[in-house]
């Protein structure tokens, strides 16, 4: 009997696994982290069952380790995301994402009269609340809350 072919993507040797991404946010996470622009081996799984999230997604990145500041950028779309840091096929560290104090780009200001919705300018926000995310626009000074949050 021939052994069934194993997928070469099931485990990674060195790198990062991002778990507990809401399935609906997978493509936002890919975009925010710029994963469509790098040549490393990356595996995506989506619409996986999750007790917590209903449908979750998972990303396995071979040879990639994130700085906190970089990975925290996904906190707006995947606040429950968990990171497993892999070395030699073993989980050597676990991490959770944290909403950062400042957000550059990523989110859209909900205020239709804000200059960022008229001119090609990168949005900037101060995070005024982390639990129920509330972002104060650096330009118009209005607050965008979770309910009105739109990811660019």
């Amino acid at each position: 009997m021939k052994e069934p072919k194993q997928l070469s993507v099931s485990a990674i040797e060195n790198g990062t696994v991002i778990d507990h991404i809401p399935a609906s946010a997978l493509f936002k996470v890919i975009q925010i982290l710029g994963l469509d622009k790098i040549s490393n081996q990356i595996t995506f799984g989506t619409n996986l069952e999750s007790k917590k999230l209903g449908q979750k997604a998972i990303i396995k990145l071979e040879g990639i380790f994130f700085e906190d500041d970089d990975i925290n950028r996904i906190a707006l779309v995947a606040p429950e995301a968990k990171l497993n840091i892999i070395r030699a096929y073993e989980v050597v560290d676990k991490n959770v994402v944290k909403v950062p104090d400042q957000i550059t780009g990523i989110a859209k200001c909900f205020n239709p009269k804000c200059i960022t919705n008229f001119e090609p300018v990168t949005t900037r926000f101060k995070v005024v609340s982390k639990k129920d995310v509330a972002l104060k626009c650096h330009y118009c000074e209005k607050i965008t809350d979770q309910e009105h949050l739109v990811i660019l």
Binding site: K113, I115, V121, H138, C140, E141
Partner: protein
Amino acid sequence: MKNKSLVSIDDLSTDEMVSILDLAEKFEKEPSQRLLEDSVIATLFFEPSTRTRLSFESAISRLGGKIIGFTDASSSSVTKGESLNDTIRTVNNYCDLIVMRHPVEGSARLASEIADVPVVNAGDGANQHPTQTMLDLYSIRKTQKSLDNLNIFLVGDLKYGRTVHSLLMAMSRWNTTFNFISPDELKMPVEYKLYLDSLGLKYYEHSDFTDIIKEADVIYMTRVQKERFSDPIEYEKVKNVYVLRNHMLRDTKENLKVLHPLPRVNEIHRDVDVNTKSYYFQQALNGVYTRQAILTRLLDLK
């Protein structure tokens, strides 16, 4: 100053505010000082605002400065679709400081990041109008001799009124008691009340404009505009309720002054104008001294 531009009243520390008010006092004593003799100031009014523009131009003229600019966007390249970025980069080459008014919120902050010269925000939509706030503070300090321990009554449209929100934020740096008088539809937004709570400052809300004002040191009147009401009947009900009449000032405090950012419609009856407690026209004049102080401070001339 830490910031070379003045975009938001929050850009100023309390010390910087006080220092600008002190400087404005000197300009009141001696308004004609040729400090801007060698300077060119651009006044860019992307939307018309005659009062604000005249006040700035008066301040610049009394300082001997030259003015370039436009008075509304229809007479400028903006109507041809030029971006704010390009307009500011161009004008930046021709002047030492930019005064700008623009209907889009956050436009002045963006301009201040694009320009090499200081930018003074003369109003960006419903967001900020810091020179108005500074002239309000000047008027309050001048008439009350201090900014400490005052009881300030804000009357009218407290929901959308940019000037009352900025004034509240500025006066909350001192030990101020606030009284809010407004129709239910136009109450002070909850975030400002939470902010006062966090500072431990007292405030009281009223829907009736009654003899409660006898406790006031300052009454700051604003316009209740018809277009703010979803139901026109609600407007009809309140439109004559938040109107100040001379007889209402009878038993008020000696030191009371009535302020208004102008223009008024009917919210202050003309019979108040003769009362020595009315202060809104002097308040407008104070805008010139305050703007002289802000311009010379931003240019490091004073």
